[in-house]
């Protein structure tokens, strides 16, 4: 019976294009609902999307920092590091110990640098540039690099002073700058160093010996504890849960959870508003499509009766409005995409001066177009099946003698 199915397909197609005025009306009616819906969603997606992007792209929003100082050991840190929602963690030492005086030949002045413990994968640093490593490779903050007139590949003279056994001691170490951190990563004068180097600086200040650097002192530390940590959640959505878990274990932390929550709530609100409008739109759209397909079956009673009379089977008669519904769906969708693209382009062009480059206030992903197509065809199919069942119930003798 494949032949007859093909035939009904071609008959429905010819009828659809023969009655092109009516078909255009159906397509316009559909696009008039679907197009604005896509623009609405594009706006929602674009606005919330760029806000979230800002949040996601700014690692500071993912940072979780302990308030005050505590005692954390390596095992505890490693356990945290293994958590899925933790992207990065390095231990921090007493802030008083984590500083270094630096001088460069070019800069000529002495600069007091904060030493920030870091490791490969540090969210503040550019992942494509080398990370601080070992006891001599460091990354300089942009502000310090400017003041010292240093760039990647240069060498930096760091000096460190302690009072030990009543004597004032000073050591100098030569550090290789492997990269300069992005300006947004750290605004002050700072130095990103490996945990190993940070520990060495602390040991020296505390009067311990650092054999690796040839510094003398009391015996090396056996069990080290840290006063804090630098921790970044995997995503902004993990921050709140991590904060909870720290609070539960008695560690007070500070996060950007409130900011994140604001955006999330806004996303939820906008989504809810959007879905309310979309559902109403979809309902109205399905009803209008259904009503027009239904009415069309009535209008075509005579043709459908003729098709029945010449011997088409019930299943094939149902195909007739179905095929036409699909045509309306596909053409309506194409037109709606056109409406959306035109509207999105004008909105983005209008707001372009207020936006950062490449930022779009109204945008959709390719999958959104496909979802729109899917929903449209789904609604069209449903309406057409109902209409088709009605078509199948048309008694051939009923419609034949209508003029």
């Amino acid at each position: 019976m494949l032949r007859q199915k093909r035939q009904i397909l071609s008959l429905a197609t010819r009828d659809y294009f023969h009655e092109w005025q009516i078909s255009i009306c159906f397509v316009l009616a559909l696009a008039a609902v679907l197009g604005p819906m896509m623009v609405l969603f594009g706006l929602k997606f674009g606005i919330v999307g760029s806000m979230i992007e800002e949040l996601v792209e700014d690692p500071v929003k993912r940072e979780i920092r302990p308030v005050g100082s505590g005692h954390y050991d390596r095992v505890w840190m490693d356990k945290l590091h293994k958590r899925d929602d933790v992207a990065f963690i390095v231990p921090r030492i007493r802030s008083i110990a984590s500083s270094l005086s630096a001088q460069s030949e070019a800069g000529g002045r002495i600069l007091h640098l904060e030493v920030i413990p870091s490791a490969p994968g540090d969210p503040l640093l550019d992942a494509s540039l080398p990370a601080p490593d070992g006891l001599d490779k460091v990354v300089l903050s942009a502000s310090a690099a400017r003041k010292l007139q240093l760039s990647a590949g240069d060498t930096l003279e760091g000096s460190l002073v302690r009072t030990w056994q009543g004597r004032k001691e000073r050591v100098v170490l030569s550090l290789k700058i492997v990269a300069i951190a992005p300006a947004t990563a750290f605004r002050r004068d700072g130095l990103f160093a490996s945990v190993m180097l940070v520990e060495a600086l602390e040991d020296f200040r505390d009067g311990h010996a650092v054999p690796a650097l040839g510094w003398e002192g009391s015996p090396a530390v056996k069990e080290r504890t840290y006063t804090g940590f630098r921790l970044y959640a995997r995503s902004i959505y993990d921050v709140a849960a991590l904060e909870d878990s720290f609070e539960r274990s008695g560690i007070e932390v500070r996060t950007q959870a409130a900011d994140i929550e604001t955006v999330r709530r806004m996303d939820n609100t906008l989504s809810a508003i959007y879905w309310a409008i979309a559902l109403i739109g979809l309902g109205g759209f399905s009803l209008s499509l259904g009503a027009s397909l239904w009415a069309n079956v009535d209008r075509k009673r005579k043709e459908l009766s003729v098709l029945r009379l010449v011997g088409f089977r019930t299943g094939e008669i149902v195909l007739f409005p179905l095929v036409q519904g699909l045509y309306t769906g596909v053409f309506g969708w194409i037109l709606a995409c056109g409406i959306y693209l035109a509207a999105a382009w004008s909105i983005n062009a209008m707001l372009a001066p207020q936006l950062e480059k490449a930022q779009k206030i109204c945008r959709l992903l390719p999958e959104h177009y496909l979802i729109a197509l899917g929903i449209t065809l789904g609604a069209a199919l449903l309406a057409a099946i109902l209409a088709g069942m009605r078509a199948a119930r048309v008694e051939p003798s009923e419609g034949l003698r209508e003029l």
Binding site: R3, Q4, Q7, L11, R14, D15, F17, H18, E19, K302, E303, V306, L307, R308, L309, V310, G311, F312, R313, T314, G315, E395, P396, S397, L400, R401, L403
Partner: protein, 245 residues
């Protein structure tokens, strides 16, 4: 004409269609009807007497409300139409129509979105019949050659009726049923179309059942006229037509 059981194409016994609406009742009763293969049958009567009802039942597009026996003898053997209706096997009836039946209606019945050629070719295409020139030959005989690529809306009523005749005959059905095929054209054209039609079915050896309100047009064409009489109740609320033959 030989009278043998194998040549019977329709056999009806106590078949009726009763319809009631707004307190009025219309009934068509067929106590007994036998139609032989190759017969030419005429059903003559005023409009509203139930001719179309009988034709639609014979074309398997209208379900009888009562029946004792309604069988159709296709080339493949006897088919119980009553059983097909009661078992709602509508696709079985559709298949019978497609293979064995042609139907010419009083007006139109053409698909407005197909040109004359494709309208005539509709049933042939459904049956997967090759293009062997039948459509062109029919069009020539019906005087439609220059209209083959026009849509029905571009034709006159008489031309459309000729297209409908072409479509009913194109797939060489065993039976052609025609319901007042010439009622909507002027009497002169009607006579011409009717004799053309009857001539063609005769030549193709097709059984034909034709309804008309004017016996005058067709009495010289050699058709067997079915006997029927219509009765009305005194208050006019009941109309009953009995057909037999």
């Amino acid at each position: 004409m030989r009278e043998s059981a194998s040549d019977i194409i329709y056999q009806l016994k106590n078949v009726a269609r009763v319809r009631e609406s707004n307190g009025y009742a219309f009934s068509l009763r067929v106590p007994s009807l036998r139609i032989q293969r190759g017969e030419k049958i005429a059903l003559i009567g005023e409009s509203g007497c139930g001719k179309s009802t009988l034709l639609d039942m014979l074309a398997f597009i209208l379900r009888p409300t009562e029946l004792e026996d309604f069988s159709f003898h296709a080339r493949g053997g006897r088919v119980d139409i009553g059983e097909a209706w009661s078992k709602r096997r509508r696709n079985r009836l559709a298949a019978l129509r497609k293979a064995h039946l042609g139907y010419v209606m009083q007006t139109g019945g053409l698909l407005p979105f197909l040109n004359v050629h494709d309208n005539i070719n509709l049933s042939r295409r459904m049956l997967g019949m090759e293009d062997d020139g039948t459509v062109r030959t029919l069009a020539r005989e019906l005087g439609l050659t220059r209209h083959l690529h026009k849509l029905p809306s571009a034709l006159s009523t008489g031309e459309r009726q000729r297209v409908a005749i072409g479509r009913a005959l194109a797939h060489r059905p065993a039976i052609v049923i025609a319901d007042e095929p010439t009622a909507s054209v002027d009497p002169f054209a009607a006579e011409k179309i009717m004799s053309l039609f009857i001539g063609m079915v005769e030549e193709m050896n097709i059984t034909v059942i034709v309804a008309s309100h004017a016996w005058r047009h067709i009495k010289q064409l050699g058709l067997r006229r079915l006997a029927h009489h219509t009765r009305k109740s005194p208050d006019g609320r009941m109309t009953e037509t009995v057909v037999s033959g």
